[in-house]
Symmetry: D2
Subunit: 195 residues, 4 copies
């Protein structure tokens, strides 16, 4: 099937119900940070609506994306969004990470959006699966997740990390005016497993 | 009556219905820019809930604030908020600016939040009332209002202006986490009538 | 030659002298907005160091990027950066836009970073070259450029536009601390020529 | 001596050498958060150029501000800035906090800008001096300071805290253009000692 988008699928394309969704600009910067190649194997932890999984799958066009999500509503959304966008290289796993990571192959890139309260365990499991020079990209919306991530990377010197905070304002058209509407800011932590 | 606040009344203190309200941090920076003294006469154009009028009235404690608002719901909110906060030096005028400005005295400071589509007229009328070294502080949420304001100030060299954009993120407590919530950004244009 | 990056070349990879450069995150969002396909023909107006041209060239891998720049120092930087990154599908034109646009072929996407004072002329010329469903992406750092762009799009209803403001904070490592350093914000205006 | 400013002294008014200085908008929001009354006793920890001490002294006009600073260059700047602004209710203490806090009286408000690596000790000492309903306002520029502060407040339930991140863009006039220049963002943590 011919794909309409290569990167930066509009938010409105996704079916989402009430599940929170990573906004377009954040998805773009996350995917660019992950530096995904066409044969890569990618894991998306806490996949939610599958919006990041879909973007990753468009990059890893001859590879595979594993979308891990605990919520049945999310599972259904991931399936529907992939189908709607003509994407067939996503494998969905219903589990709460790090559960569900036992049988994964070696990974080139890992995207961590929703992590619940088990981030250190998830990072340990990720580390055991991640290839050298592989990338972990975390999207943090709380200070606690950011701190857990920062603490982990400071304790594991085989990783180089950098932190960027992204704040997007969209200027919406309201009756002839262009009016600012802020998107909630996010911290993107990009980690590389050193040789 | 003893007043509880001197500057920066919490948002939750105001009765607001569905009327948009200037958020606390924006009010603080607006009032600080207006440099209001205790005997000053201040005009608040498009007063909305009266939140800025109330802050101005706390500064101009021996002066007077004129709150101009076209919306009857707003008029009632201004009255209730002033009463709730023990403020008695606000005079409410129900009109759509520049209407309602005919009988005003000389002004030390003018706050312009809501201006509808008549900003150049409002600025002309304001200019005729404003004392030398008086201040006009505009809060702009649309590009169009910002541009009208900028064009006016470029055409009127007796004013010095500066523009600051303010973006506030509040970190809300959600189940043990501190999570970012963005407040929509605002442009604060501060204008001084030169000697 | 094998290319090291697919999107989001690190800032430090570019030779830049004292020429201002579009920062990595802004480049990523600009390129994603342009939706460049591998056979596309792209124009980069005010190419500066060539950082956007290089990113575009990595997308239009079987197409061509025209980099238009008036400054001889910029011309040399574009040449050196393309060479350093193993990019051979950039054609450099030394001229001040809209000069230098006379002999261009039909265009799929146009990136406008530096426009000097002739933006409306540049947009007119661009319009005559741009294919239907083609994209113009403008990066605006001044209110004046933003306004010119907005006015043009409001006058030309064959274009759909949207405006996003991007603010990036990088958290730099300073003596064991992670300290925020703000990147100057930019408005990205994305315009699509409608059918 | 008559004072020219009541709140929000322009940055350019301060003598600062190479010492980092809290920018005007951050000072305004910090001071408004501290809710300083005219008879209050205030401590400014890591006073730097004294810019926050001066603002606090303008509020506590019949009270006193203690400015604690370790750096001799800072001590001299505080002295000069207070003198320049006609402020005579600042007492300067040369020490590295929490040293120098031994002989302080009870405090109504404490401002913590620079804390070095001893923040928990400083907060313990502050707590022993702070009156009930007193306020601690911390300006955090690093994630580490923010985290230390957050951890302390979570461990000490007698404090209510809230966190706001402030990002200011100033639009500078450059050759007829208004161009954005970002101020580095800051976290303002406001803590109240509960009854």
């Amino acid at each position: 099937m011919k794909k309409k988008y290569s990167l930066g699928i509009p938010d409105a394309e996704f079916v989402r119900g009430k599940v929170p969704m990573t906004k377009r600009e954040i998805r773009i910067l996350t995917i660019a940070g992950a530096n995904i190649r066409k044969n890569d194997t990618v894991l998306d932890v806490g996949a939610g609506t599958g919006s990041l999984s879909c973007e990753a799958a468009l990059q890893a066009v001859d590879g595979r994306v594993f979308a891990l999500e605990r919520n049945p509503e999310g599972i259904e959304l991931i399936r529907r969004n992939a189908e709607k966008l003509g994407i067939d290289n996503i494998s969905i796993i219903q589990a709460e990470a790090p559960d569900g990571m036992e049988k994964l192959p070696e990974l080139d890139a890992v995207l961590i959006g929703g992590s619940g309260r088990r981030l250190p365990e998830i990072l340990d499991r990720t580390d055991s699966l991640l290839k050298t020079e592989g990338r972990i990209i975390l999207n943090c919306v709380t200070l606690q997740t950011l701190n857990q991530c920062l603490a982990y990377m400071k304790d594991h010197e085989k990783y180089a990390y950098d932190i960027v905070q992204v704040q997007i304002n969209r200027w919406e058209k309201v009756g002839g005016y262009d009016m600012a509407r802020a998107v909630n800011p996010i911290f993107i932590v990009s980690c590389t497993k050193l040789k």
